[in-house]
């Protein structure tokens, strides 16, 4: 009987529904600092979401007719997706280039990437004015193939599926489903290749969204090369997030990580910092090239010009050099500082293109309302809750069961 049903046997021999129910119960302490801070914010955010749907977008956000995309798109979607770029870079390194050294962190990065996309696509749904029609571009009513947003939306969908397939062996191991696990492991390389192609296109696609807003974005940030910039910066954005979030989960979940993985961690972080340094070096020169191409010398001596220089030198060149030095001196603490600076730099860059530099000359400057910030935090915290739930139950940080490594 158990042979017919591929998910009949789970870890403890319990029937599947009892197993899932028992997994829903919390593990670990209830009153951690994170829980105490995040729960009220999540509850407040949920209330605000209800108000947003009841009274319209304007009741919760500060969006105007001149600035229709604000924090939710500029930060949640555009910046969040840039940080989820670690998944495609790491799967490229491990599955395509066969760099076995990074294999131990692939799963957690793919999990992060998957959750990021799910939640940021969810945040997108909050921002839509008529979300019940979101099904239209999917079913063909109509396919707006001339739109960059159509491409980005479809890629999000397909990429989530590809990441789910990449991550599903871990789910199969959690449920003890051996035959499905074999099938899913065979599909990994196809999902990885598909995922890398999709990622390239939608990371650059998020930049291409703004190509038509030629006069609306400050000239120092607008160029025809925005898509390439977004793509290249997503590489080191993703890796910096891997370093940053890896340091946190390494501490929080350290009981799960095996001896071998602990020791390998330093080598992994230094390797990632080397890659970041190289990519940021290329990115910086790309920015210089584009700046010269656009010939906006005179704009450097304006407030926005100083802001631009701050972003380039303080948040691209500086962390690049920190990555470089920390790699040469084997200094993990410096790598973490560089990673945080890079993360801030990416947030700055994305916000500059989408919110700060967008209609910088508008009569009423757009500043996000506190309600938008709370909803953003709600999305972020809920994502972290789900992440913690998965890590505590599925073999992501800890080793896979022995039967799984045979596949």
């Amino acid at each position: 009987m158990s042979e017919n049903n591929p998910i009949a046997i789970d870890n403890d021999g319990k029937p599947i529904w009892k197993f899932l129910w028992s997994e829903l119960k919390p593990k670990g302490k209830i009153f951690t600092p994170f829980n105490i801070i995040s729960v009220p914010i999540i509850l407040l955010g949920l209330t605000l979401i209800v108000i947003r749907f009841w009274k319209g977008l304007g009741s919760v956000t500060n969006l105007t007719q001149e600035v229709p995309w604000g924090l939710w798109i500029g930060f949640d979607v555009v910046t969040g997706v840039a940080f989820a770029g670690g998944a495609y870079v790491l799967t490229f390194m491990v599955y395509i280039l066969n760099m076995k050294k990074y294999k131990s962190i692939v799963r957690v990065t793919v999990l992060n990437g998957f959750l990021a996309y799910v939640f940021y696509a969810g945040a997108l749904l909050l921002d839509l004015g008529r979300p019940w029609n979101v099904i239209n571009p999917i079913i063909g009513n109509n396919f707006g193939v001339n739109s960059v947003l159509f491409l980005v939306a479809w890629h999000f969908l397909l990429y989530m599926i590809a990441q789910l397939i990449e991550f599903s062996p871990a789910i199969a191991e959690w449920l003890g489903a051996k035959r499905i696990h074999k099938l899913l492991s065979g599909m990994t390389i196809a999902a990885v290749i598909f995922g890398i192609t999709l990622s390239t296109l939608h990371q650059s696609g998020l930049g291409a969204l703004y190509l038509m807003a030629k006069e609306k974005i400050h000239p120092l940030w607008y160029s025809e090369f925005i898509p390439i910039m977004f793509f290249v910066s997503s590489i080191f954005a993703g890796l910096s997030m891997v370093i940053f979030e890896g340091s946190i989960s390494h501490n929080v979940f350290q009981k799960q990580i095996s001896e071998k993985d602990h020791k390998a961690r330093t080598g992994i972080i230094l390797g990632l910092s080397k890659i970041c340094a190289g990519t940021m070096f290329a990115y910086f020169f790309l920015q210089v090239l584009v700046f010269i191409h656009n010939r906006h010398w005179d704009l450097l001596n304006t407030p926005m010009g100083y802001w631009y220089l701050l972003e380039m030198f303080g948040f691209v060149l500086l962390p690049m050099m920190l990555f470089y030095f920390s790699y040469r001196r084997n200094n993990i603490m410096l790598v973490r500082v560089a990673a945080i600076l890079t993360i801030l730099g990416i947030i700055l860059n994305r916000l500059n293109v989408t919110v700060i530099g967008f209609r910088w000359d508008a009569a009423i400057h757009y500043i996000p309302s506190w309600m938008e910030v709370v909803v953003t935090l709600t999305v972020l915290f809920t994502e972290i809750w789900i992440f913690r739930w998965v890590i505590n139950r599925m073999p992501v940080l800890r080793d896979s069961p022995s039967w799984a490594s045979k596949h």
């Binding site: 396919f143 193939v145 001339n146 196809a190 598909f194």
Partner: protein
């Protein structure tokens, strides 16, 4: 184009996306077929190991036939027949299918047994003529004995020969048997050198030619097509 009537610069986008879907769908079978032949090459590469004449058992006093069978006349006038060690080192563990039962008569050159490994088959021809007295029932229970002790408890048939002297006249004995075995080993290498390119044209077989060692039980890992070639080119001439 001149702005007076409808013109869409993205008109073909939908068709292009369909073609992309077709391409991705076809890429998978395309790459699978492209890599299929490589499997046989990998099997050859894995098979490189050590098989030299020094590990062969070649007891003296036993007549060796060119088809890698042996015959030994005991004092009672009954001859034992079996398979020689070199062949068994090529094939590895096999199942036997006796073609004759006690009471049958057998002629030299007739198929006396078939060797099976994983669906691949070799025909073995009898070295002498005579009447089958016994078949070795021990081998049906314990086929491993065949490879362990091919000249002793691993005998195949006990036969009362018709023309022992005449038929064994051209067979190898003692030192000439050892020499012959070495030559057969080299002939096997040559056989591989000729056969492998048939399945993978750009294979590198230099390792075999300049004295690279052959692995034990090499044939057991190669596919059925190679067994057929082995029967035709190596065993039968």
């Amino acid at each position: 184009m001149d702005g007076f009537s409808y013109y869409n610069i993205f008109e073909t986008k939908g068709m292009e996306y369909l073609i992309i879907i077709a391409f991705l769908a076809l890429l998978i079978p395309f790459s699978i077929i492209l890599n299929r032949k490589v499997i046989i090459k990998r099997q050859f590469s894995k098979a490189l190991g050590v098989l030299t004449s020094s590990i062969l058992k070649i007891p003296q006093g036993v007549f060796y036939c060119k088809n890698h069978t042996w015959a030994h006349l005991s004092k009672s006038g009954i001859a034992n027949l079996g398979l020689d060690d070199l062949l068994l080192h090529f094939t590895g563990n096999v199942r036997l299918n006796y073609m004759k039962t006690p009471g049958d008569s057998i002629i030299k050159g007739e198929v006396m047994t078939e060797l099976y490994h994983d669906g691949k088959m070799l025909k073995i021809y009898s070295p002498i003529s005579g009447r089958v007295e016994e078949t070795n029932l021990l081998l049906t229970e314990d086929p491993g004995k065949l490879n362990e002790d091919p000249y002793g408890t691993g005998w195949l048939y006990k036969i009362k020969p018709n023309n022992w002297k005449g038929e064994t006249n051209s067979y190898y004995l003692a030192e000439s048997a050892t020499e012959w075995s070495k030559k057969e080993l080299q002939r096997f290498r040559d056989f591989l050198a000729v056969t492998m390119p048939k399945y993978d044209p750009d294979t590198t077989i230099f390792a075999l030619q300049d004295g690279g060692e052959l692995r034990d039980n090499l044939l057991s890992e190669l596919p059925g097509e190679v067994w057929n070639d082995f029967q035709q080119e190596f065993m039968n001439p």
